[in-house]
């Protein structure tokens, strides 16, 4: 049950191109939808007020640093937004983990949690969050996070997959 099997690539290219143009040119104007009331917690906001800092790195810049699939693992990119990219890791058709890179320039609180951490992975400060997440901070700015989606995907698996990212490449990103 998969769209992809029947999608014709050239046709898809056309649709994707139009959509890309739409996103660039059209932005998100929508005069008919009034803004919902702002009732957000200030602590997760960048200083300038919006949810995403204007100088955050485009999500597309992160894609090339993600680990590839293979060996029974399938990598499916799921989101690419300003300052954020995420992919799903699948095995045997099941979701087993999420892989993500985010620019903490939009979320200072995300970077702060690494300050008191003694742990490191691949030489970068590392933290475990909640029951399902392991994260590192690269170049004091980019958070790489692996999140378990299956109980079989353990903390050790998360640490191993974090090291499969091109971390030195990401560290060079400006």
């Amino acid at each position: 049950m998969n769209f992809s099997a029947s999608f014709a690539a050239p046709r898809k290219l056309f649709v994707a191109f139009l959509l890309a143009m739409m996103l660039v040119v059209g932005g998100c104007r929508n005069p008919q939808t009034p803004a919902p009331p702002s009732e957000t917690s200030q602590q997760v906001q960048p200083a300038e007020g919006g949810a995403v800092a204007s100088d955050a790195v485009p999500g597309s810049a992160f894609n090339k640093f993600f680990p590839a699939g293979g060996d029974g693992y399938e990598r499916v990119y799921t989101q690419e937004k300003t300052g954020f990219a995420e992919a799903k890791l699948k095995r045997d058709g099941q979701d087993i983990a999420m892989l993500a890179i985010s620019d903490t320039i939009s979320t200072p609180i995300a970077a702060q949690k690494f300050q008191n951490s003694q742990a490191t992975i691949a030489g970068y400060p590392a933290v475990t969050v909640g029951n399902t997440q392991t994260a590192i901070l690269v170049a004091d700015r980019f958070q790489v996070k692996v999140i378990s989606r299956s109980p079989d995907f353990t903390e050790a698996d998360r640490e191993a997959w974090i090291q499969r990212f091109d971390l030195s490449g990401l560290a060079q990103l400006k």
Partner: protein, 295 residues
């Protein structure tokens, strides 16, 4: 003033004609869709986390992302809201009283007007376009290649897959018959830009459809349909779906005769808002997934 996303998720219904209709498709997608409602419950279910302060943090960031217009989430939800015109003529209050008993279609016949095939063709195609545009507003265009993007589009599950199944069944099979994919393709090919401009649903969302004029927008609609027609045909054949099989399941809560499928389609169109309902769930899922990864 539109509602905050957390309120929209909190207010998602658990018992109405939309939910019953979607559940009737359980035979197509067994256990693939859970009607996830409630903001806090949705965050806990999607993240698998239990710590209250962490849940709060994820929720706050997700709400902030939704509130930032530049992120496109509000437009996506507006599209899901706008393409569903449910409740306008039948009155949701009258139907709400029917929950728990069978809805007799006969009682609504004078309020129902089956759509002409042309209008139904435009309806179905516009819903597909909304799906593709909303997908890109919510997720961007993931990955670096067309293959990545196609894989991303193809990885539909949960409420998103249920939305597509409902589109095939309620907007394709029942109103247009077993060969609806071919019929829509042919009718779409004969449609003129001026005919499209006369369509009420098109008028509502045309500003969000790529293309500088009606001709180009019609072109985009055609390409969008062509992109997914193979998937729809495969979905129908692999599940051995027929209008009768779908309508038989609906008879568990709607009373109608099999020769009134056009009226059944009109009833579903006017009494359900499955795009809106599952659209809220899809958006909430993506916001929460992003928030969890960012905080």
């Amino acid at each position: 003033m539109s509602k905050p996303i957390n309120q929209r998720v909190d207010e998602l219904p658990t018992k109405n004609v939309t939910i019953f209709s979607l559940r009737s498709l359980d035979f197509v997608l067994p256990d693939k869709w859970e009607n996830l409602v409630g903001w806090d419950n949705t965050i806990r279910t999607i993240t698998g986390e239990t710590d209250d302060s962490l849940i709060q943090l994820v929720g706050d960031r997700a709400i902030a992302l939704y509130n930032d217009k530049s992120q496109g989430y509000q437009t996506a939800l507006w599209l899901y809201d706008t393409i569903d015109s449910a409740g306008s003529a039948l009155g949701t209050a009258a139907l709400a009283n029917k929950v728990g008993e069978k809805v007799p279609l006969l009682g609504f016949l004078n309020k129902l007007t089956p759509k002409a095939d042309k209008a139904q063709t435009i309806d179905l195609t516009l819903k597909l376009v909304v799906e593709i545009v909303a997908f890109c507003k919510i997720n961007g265009i993931p990955g670096d290649s067309i293959g990545d993007f196609v894989r991303s589009l193809g990885d539909y599950s949960g409420e998103s897959l249920m939305r597509m199944a409902a589109l095939v069944c309620f907007d394709g099979l029942i109103p247009l018959g077993p060969d609806f994919v071919q019929a829509v393709g042919e009718r779409l090919g004969m449609l003129s830009p001026s005919e499209l401009e006369d369509n009420q649903e098109f008028k509502k969302i045309k500003d969000e459809i790529p293309g500088k004029n009606a001709e180009h927008k019609l072109g985009f609609m055609g390409e969008s349909f062509e992109s997914v027609r193979g998937w729809m045909s495969e979905f129908v054949s692999s599940h051995d779906l027929t209008p009768q099989k779908v309508s038989n399941r609906l008879q568990s809560f709607i009373e109608f005769s099999d020769d009134r499928l056009d009226y059944l389609a009109a009833f579903l169109d006017m009494s359900t808002d499955y795009y809106r309902h599952t659209g809220v769930q899809t958006l909430a899922r993506r916001l929460i997934e992003r928030s969890l990864a960012e905080i």
